[in-house]
Amino acid sequence: MDFDLTEKQRKFFDDILGEVRTRLGSSNTPDGQHFTRAQWKTAADIGLTGLCLPTEYGGGGLGALDTALCLEAFGQGCPETGLVFAVSAHLLACAVPVRDHAQAEVRGELLTGMARGDLIAANAMTEDEAGSDVGPLAMTAQRTGDDYILHGDKSFASNAPLADLFVTYAVTAPKAGFLGVSAFAVPAELPGADAGPLFDKMGLAGCPAGRVSFRDCHVPAEYRLGAEGQGSAIFQHSMGWERACLFGGYLGMMNRQLEECVRRADSRRQFGRRIAEFQSVSHRIAGMKQRLESARLLLYRACWLMDQEREYTSAVALSKLAVSEAAVANSLDAIQIFGGEGYLRHVGIERQLRDSVPTTLFSGTSEIQKELIARELGL
């Protein structure tokens, strides 16, 4: 067993961290505003929008663990966690299904556009009545000649208001239950595909999200991903990548947060001494470190299992649960360590909490992760 990163892994982690700190490291976006196309192109220029896409299409050709390491560097160097999330969701929930299941006629063009940052993708799966349980999906796709006609509404689609491409899921065989679902990559310019207004969210303001409606939207059949009825498997596969790799970004955020807390405890003086000298403060930081390190080990192991093509369902669920719950707990601790200043928006500490709360909800709630873990135990 070897817990060290390879020299190559260390180098690309350091290279990406340096690039991100230089080019995306200072927050120019007022809190509450989403990322700009220029920021997206910068992320693409660094290689972040195509980390695990094939090199022949401009991607990095990385596996799950190396992708997670790069996203960790991204999250550590970039204070705009909403941008980190937006790029990660684009890559893992949208580009991965296109990489693995798109038809030859459209695959190269879509992957090239997504890797280069010309195409921003949004994952449109959730519906008002279909969240954790995708069984009641209501959106339909009816085959007519060379097209499918998509009809229905999606919600909580990250990146949707700016998206050039929607990766979406619709019922093609109603009697087949959750396996009657098919996946599609839908160019946003097609008539009948429309993104709704921005959601006003608690956190991750840097990532715009909203509803998407499809009204008699004719989608050429070559934009179907995989075979009819494979939508559920394609979605679960992409969620495996998202639940594992996307949370690398939160490891990075927690690492930056920990460094900020150490500096704060070391520099802030009360009662004539550094507050780090109070065990109530230093032990709180030690607890943050323990949560971060244990979550990181679980995440690296989950990604490693994916790369080894071993069974990873339970390992990924454990990792997702650990990282998301650590992010919330550590962000609450960080506010306590910063005291009143931590409560002020311009300091940036309370924002980490608002950006962390949704981690226990998206990509499968904590409750769903525990259900998966329990069921893998045979319970």
Binding site: A176, G177, F178, Q230
Partner: protein
């Protein structure tokens, strides 16, 4: 494990875990599991885990489709095929 033992293992698991014991004996080899809503995404993942542990056969994600998971008969055929392919 013979094909009939695989079939019985799958049937018994579905009866016990998803049908509350199926005391009325309604589950048949050709009962439409997807259409009846017996197999949803969570239950199917659990059944695949059972097949992995009890039969020693890993079901590839892309084989999880409506044809293969229509009923106990089709699931048994899938498991048998995968076991033969892996041998």
């Amino acid at each position: 494990m013979t094909e009939s033992e695989i079939r019985e293992s799958i049937s018994a698991y579905i009866r016990e875990r998803f049908l509350g014991g199926d005391h009325k004996g309604e589950l048949e080899e050709t009962s439409p599991l997807l259409e009846w809503g017996v197999l949803n995404s969570l239950n199917t993942a659990q059944l695949i885990g059972h097949i992995r542990v009890a039969v020693g056969v890993k079901i590839p994600a892309m084989e999880v489709n409506p044809e293969n998971f229509r009923d106990v008969r089709s699931i048994t055929a899938l498991v048998t095929r995968q076991r033969t392919a892996a041998a």
